[in-house]
């Protein structure tokens, strides 16, 4: 790519500028390589925007399910923290099948305070917030 062709498209996500000024390897008019800085490119910005739209939608769907009593608040905070089951299991230090069970409201209600505290600290919230799920959008 020639230095003159470098795009400078800002990465606007969630209405805010999320650009990182990165380095790109480019050629000058004599074909010599050098580096230049750039803020982003529409093609990649669009891909990241799309990925976030998908994440946001998943979070919202999970939130609705928690409110309707189909899933436990742990499911919501897992999504909110961009974790999947193996990642969350790693952080709380429980087996995957246990965590999977804790995503069910019935098993969640029976959780001890110590176990809840482990989840709460991973999610960076209080035990109270985790137990009494009352989320703004």
């Amino acid at each position: 790519m020639n230095k003159d062709e470098v795009p400078q498209d800002k990465k606007i996500i969630h209405g805010e500028d999320n650009s990182i000024v990165k380095m790109l390897y480019v050629t000058d008019k004599d074909g010599r390589y050098g580096t230049t800085q750039y803020t982003g490119w529409d093609a990649e910005n669009l891909a990241l925007t799309q990925a976030w739209e998908d994440i946001d939608e998943k979070i919202e769907t999970t939130r609705q399910k928690v409110l309707q009593g189909e899933l436990s608040p742990i499911a919501y905070y897992m999504q909110k923290n961009l974790m999947d089951l193996p990642t969350l299991a790693g952080y709380v230090g429980f087996w995957k099948f246990r965590v999977k069970k804790h995503l069910q409201p019935a098993a969640f209600k029976k959780l001890s305070d110590t176990k809840l505290a482990r989840y709460a600290s991973v999610f960076n919230i209080s035990v109270d917030e985790l137990r009494h799920f009352r989320l703004p959008a």
């Binding site: 790519m1 990465k11 996500i13 969630h14 805010e16 500028d17 999320n18 650009s19 990182i20 000024v21 990165k22 380095m23 790109l24 390897y25 480019v26 050629t27 074909g31 010599r32 390589y33 580096t35 800085q37 490119w41 529409d42 093609a43 990649e44 669009l46 891909a47 990241l48 799309q50 990925a51 976030w52 998908d54 961009l82 974790m83 999947d84 193996p86 990642t87 790693g90 952080y91």
Partner: protein, 333 residues
Amino acid sequence: MIIDNFHHRQSAHCESGVTLSLLNHYGVALTEPLVFGIGAGLFFGHLPFVKVNGIPGTTFRIWPGYIFKRVTKELGVTIKTASFSSPDKAMLALDEALQQKQPVGMQTSVFFLDYFPPAWRFHFNAHNLIAFGKEGDEYLISDPVMQTATRLRGDDLSKARFAKGFPAPNGKMYFPVRTGDGKPLDKAVISGIRKTCWFMLKSPPPFFGHNGIRFLGKKVAGYPEKMEPRKAALCIGNIIRMQEEIGTGGGGFRFLYAAFLQEAAGILKRDELTGLSHTMTCIGDDWRNFAYAAARVMKDRSGNLATYRELGDMLRQIADKEKDFFTGLRKTV
């Protein structure tokens, strides 16, 4: 405590950047393209069964840690590497190394690095950065992706070093302890080129090397038949991000490699490498065109079969070009 003769420099890619800065600090003069080329960093792999959030994985580079290991081995630099069983031990070892004026490279997650804009902070655990000082509870961080040196709170660094999930860093840290008698630069350059040719030409089909690109082309062409338009769009979006967004120097590392070949031409005094560098630039441009076309297909979201077939064809053409390219490159060294 600051190691004041340490110099932050921005790089395109985190691992080659960390390798470069650490080696420069110990007087080994290199450039990022040389690190990337000697480290045989260029690669291609598409693994449909390795999924992140249901999206198949694509990579344009060799596996994490390989570049650093290879460059230091080739140039005869002895490295001290350590992993830890607890965050406390890991942070203590870091402080001790900094006390001895050693800049320290570390493997971390991106999720806890608050100097990144929020939209970048995923649970990606193969990031690399350097600590080169500590003031109060804050560490001075040289993150090669960033324009300037930055700071990070101790508890965030500790969390980032002990991120869970794959690949778990386990507090991994590393720094050079001795520079010594490795291969001379020209030999290391040739050996790096040969290794990359081997990776791209001889890796087992169908997932890796030029075969992997062709394989991805076939998969992409079939996406609309196999999944919903929305999922298909997310899959090609992921390819674009791996290729452009995550610090590749553009065109899925192809421009960085072309820059390496141009430097190699000077070091080895081989003019034909200048020509090959130019060809690699053209292949990088092809990858950029692919990303541009893919973004349009993604935006359209109709799941139109014909447009996905066109993307598949573009990839197959790139596969042929890379096969010819590396066959030619192998013959020159």
